[in-house]
């Protein structure tokens, strides 16, 4: 895979308000890249800068080894699918989709051929004479996408395109987007605030928090190797336990915590007496028989979730809480509040955050 | 923004400035000549005086025509708002096909050249032997502004949810009570805007009035008559006062509209 676009140390501020701070990332060929962040986090600003609608305050946007900071919008080989589609109300579906080619002075026959082709790809071949106002949200979405695809851009920028759709349609469109991206082999930069959507669609995800990227990586990377406690809590749930190394030897590390002591695998970032936060996902906490490795906790409550249950448990003092997930209801049936249970961490999948 | 776009912007800003100047030039000149004298096109800069304003109280004809105009304006507002509200409500609630036809008729005097509306009424009044007076002028003004009043009130009615009146009935209100306690407070602002606009238009209506006026003249018609002999400074002073009144009315309308954040106008 080769890189096609790079953003280097991009910052953006409006007056004294900082929107983005030192953002850097690269986009690979044929990649589905998602920028994930809450509303107002500045995620739209990133693709607006790539598209050329706003300029970065500092930093470089590099495309094909060339700085394109000052390239006007219409010269950039990217196309945008806008949040509320921005279809031209004075043109029907056919003219909307064919607009980019018309501007490039393509012949009428070529435009017709291409438009019909692309409309077939997005499944709207029978709608070419409709006006945008006569289409449903999902159909307008497809027209907006077709309008971008037909220009054969190097990258398609999608600015929260599914935001306005209801849940059911949203699922359909996610599937549709994923399939179409594979089919047409164009890189997508996709903006969303929805984690599930990001995980489902993306090859890589960049999580935006406090004007900066927390972490960039594949969905699996982000889930299993979060780099910060923010990331650990951002996807799914995670128990964060304050720990201190008590015994550091060549084989394993013994740590103490509010729940007692346990062993974790070797880690070169730790040394004797170092303090850190240990992250372990609730499904990686196992109920076990009492052993010398196990930890004793007291059940606070049990939440029935169908075939499995979730247990919240506390340590002896009752001042620290731990969540345990995916316990077969068969087992949880026999348990009740205030029971003592023994647990063990699947320490291969725990994360270490040094503050 | 490209450099070309910047140039375009400044060019357009300049044009806009020129046009604002052109639109205000006649008005500014009038105000100017109410304070300064000019002889043979030369302005006497030492002649500043606000005497014409104090002398205005002795100009019975001008004052009378002003009072007539205000009378016509007020009666026009009352008639047009009542009829306009009635039709708007009818149009809004009725399912009859007649309502489109009705709307078409109401809009006719507004869309046709004023000269047609004026002479139609003139001929009609002659046929039914109704002598020309301020009241015939009121009729002319009412049917002229009716379309605007109707449209403003209708726009407001269409923003109200049908459940509003239904819930009033549901709670046991009679139709009058529902109107007075529920509908009226909700459309009050649109009635005020429509009324102010109707008054402003009526105050300056000339083309229809010229056909319908009797012996008592309204203010624009008095100006029209005085123009042959040239304007005295008192006339300029009366014009200035009316201009201030009109501007205040338009600003009042605009501020009501922007405060209720409904862009109903046009």
């Amino acid at each position: 895979m080769s890189e096609i676009l790079e953003l280097k140390n991009i910052s953006k501020s409006y007056g004294s308000t900082t929107v983005l701070e030192n953002i850097s990332f690269k986009i690979n060929n044929n990649e589905f890249f998602t920028i994930l962040g809450s509303s107002g986090s500045g995620k739209s600003t990133i693709i607006r800068m790539i598209g050329g609608f706003t300029k970065p305050s500092s930093g470089e946007i590099i495309f094909a080894n060339k700085n394109i900071n000052d390239e006007p919008i219409f010269k950039r080989p990217f196309n945008t699918v806008f949040q509320d589609y921005a279809l031209f109300p004075n043109m029907n579906v056919f003219d909307n989709v064919g607009f980019g080619l018309k501007i490039k002075n393509k012949s009428k026959e070529e435009i017709k051929k291409n438009v019909l082709n692309v409309l077939t790809v997005v499944g709207l071949e029978h709608f070419s004479n409709r006006m945008p106002q006569e289409l449903s949200g999902g159909q307008q979405q497809r027209v907006a996408l077709a309008r971008a695809i037909i220009c054969e851009p190097e990258i398609i920028l999608l600015d929260e395109p599914l935001g306005a759709l209801d849940a059911e349609l949203r699922k359909q469109m996610q599937l549709f987007l994923k399939e179409i991206q594979k089919k047409i082999q164009i890189s997508f930069i996709f903006i969303t605030h929805d984690q599930e959507e990001a995980i489902f669609l993306s090859d890589r995800i960049a999580v935006l928090n406090n004007h900066k990227f927390e972490q960039i990586g594949s969905p699996k990377d982000l889930y299993y190797s979060p780099k910060t406690t923010y990331m650990a809590k951002f996807f799914g749930e995670c128990n964060l336990i304050k720990c201190r190394v008590t015994n550091y030897d060549s084989e394993s590390i013994k740590v103490s915590s509010a729940f007692g002591s346990f062993n974790i695998p070797k880690n070169k970032n730790l040394n004797n007496e170092s303090e850190f936060i240990y992250g372990i996902r609730p499904e990686e906490v196992k109920l076990v028989r009492q052993s010398e490795k196990s930890i004793k906790v007291k059940i606070k409550d049990i939440n029935f979730r169908g075939s499995t249950s979730t247990i919240n448990a506390t340590n002896d003092n009752g001042d620290s809480l731990i969540k345990i997930q995916n316990i077969s209801t068969n087992i949880s049936k026999s348990l009740s509040i205030n029971d003592s249970i023994d647990i063990e961490f699947n320490t291969d999948l725990g994360s270490i955050f040094i503050e | 923004m490209t450099r070309l776009e910047n140039y375009t912007k400044y060019l357009l800003a300049g044009l806009t400035g020129l046009i604002v100047a052109a639109l205000y030039a006649p008005i500014v000149l009038t105000i100017f000549y109410s304070f300064y004298k000019s002889r043979k096109g030369k302005v006497d800069w030492n002649s500043f005086s606000y005497e014409p304003y104090t002398k205005l109280i002795y100009e019975r004809q001008i004052l009378e025509s002003l009072m007539n105009s205000i009378y016509v304006g007020v009666v026009t507002v009352i008639c047009s708002v009542i009829i306009g509200f009635y039709f708007a409500n009818y149009y809004h609630t009725s399912k009859s096909k007649m309502k489109e036809f009705l709307q078409f008729i109401i809009f006719l005097p507004f869309l046709l050249p004023p000269i047609i509306t004026g002479l139609s009424l003139l001929i009609f009044f002659r046929e039914i032997n109704l002598p020309r007076s301020l009241n015939t002028v009121v009729i002319g003004h009412t049917i002229f502004v009716l379309a605007i009043v109707f449209k403003i009130i209708l726009n407001k009615l269409e923003t109200l949810k049908p459940s509003l009146m239904e819930s009033a009935y549901d709670l046991g209100a009679s139709k009058w009570q529902a109107f007075y306690y529920v509908l009226l407070p909700n459309i009050k602002l649109s009635l005020i805007i429509a009324g102010l606009l109707a008054f402003t238009i009526s105050l300056d209506e000339t083309l229809i009035t010229l056909f319908l006026i009797g012996n008592d003249t309204t203010w624009p018609i008095k100006l029209w008559a005085k123009m042959r002999v040239g304007f005295s400074k008192q006339v300029n002073a009366s014009v200035t006062l009316i201009l201030i009144l009109t501007s205040l009315l338009v600003l009042l309308i605009a501020s009501i509209i922007s405060r209720s954040e409904k862009k109903i106008m046009y």
């Binding site: 806008f82 | 000149l29 000549y33 000269i115 003139l122 009109t246």
Partner: protein, 283 residues
Amino acid sequence: MNSVLNYFSTSIWTIVSFILVIFLILIPLFSFLSYSFFTVDGTDIIHEFSLFNFKEFFIDEIYIRTFVRTIFLAIIVMSCCIMLGYPVAFFLARYAGRYKYVILLMLIIPLFMSYIIKIYMMRSILGYSGLINKVLAMMGFIEKPLEFFLWNQNSVIITLVVILLPLIIIPTFTSLDKIPKNIVEASFDLGCKPFQAFRYIIFPISFPGLIVGSIFVFILALGDFVTPQLVGGTSGFTYGKIIYSNFGMAFNWPFGAALASILLFVSVIIILLTNYLTNKLRT
């Protein structure tokens, strides 16, 4: 009791208001149209059907000539208003930022300010010793005052443009202001240069508003009779002025009605035609 006071749906009220509208709008229009088929004898109007007035219109070529000239005049006024008004509306909607409504209001206020005075004052602006000539002389462009501006067709055109210009700015601004920003961005995104974005997107979307304003300006310019009377002199004669004179000194109401009905007929045709063409253009 309730059924009488019932403020809507009551049949009496419905009938009353329908009668009112029919009496005050439709019947006057009808009586005016029928007058155009009557004739006059001295000061008496003869209520008998006759095509005399229309014959007169077509025989004496001054009427047709004046009519055609007035249509041209209205077209020129309309074109000037479009050429001046559209750029202003465009500037307001796109570049004036938070001042746009303030400037719009400034452009609307003169619309409500004394019609007669505006026309009258145009005399002291356009006249031989008027403002324009003075300014031009002061700046050294001319030695003798220009007579190009007053007591002719030009002065009628200029005055009507000054009076009617806001009517085209308002609807055009409204339709331009409604265009979402991202639609313009989308056109850039698809490769439009600024002029192309204007040509293919902004202008077509604002076109209906421009048409509404243009029709208003055209109709009002066509029917105006006060402006030519005050600034037109002898050569600034218009059709509206002829109609009005038949109701004044000439006192030939049936002939005036006939002339007006021709004006009405042509106005309606033009409105319908524009409507039809706009709809056709859009599809």
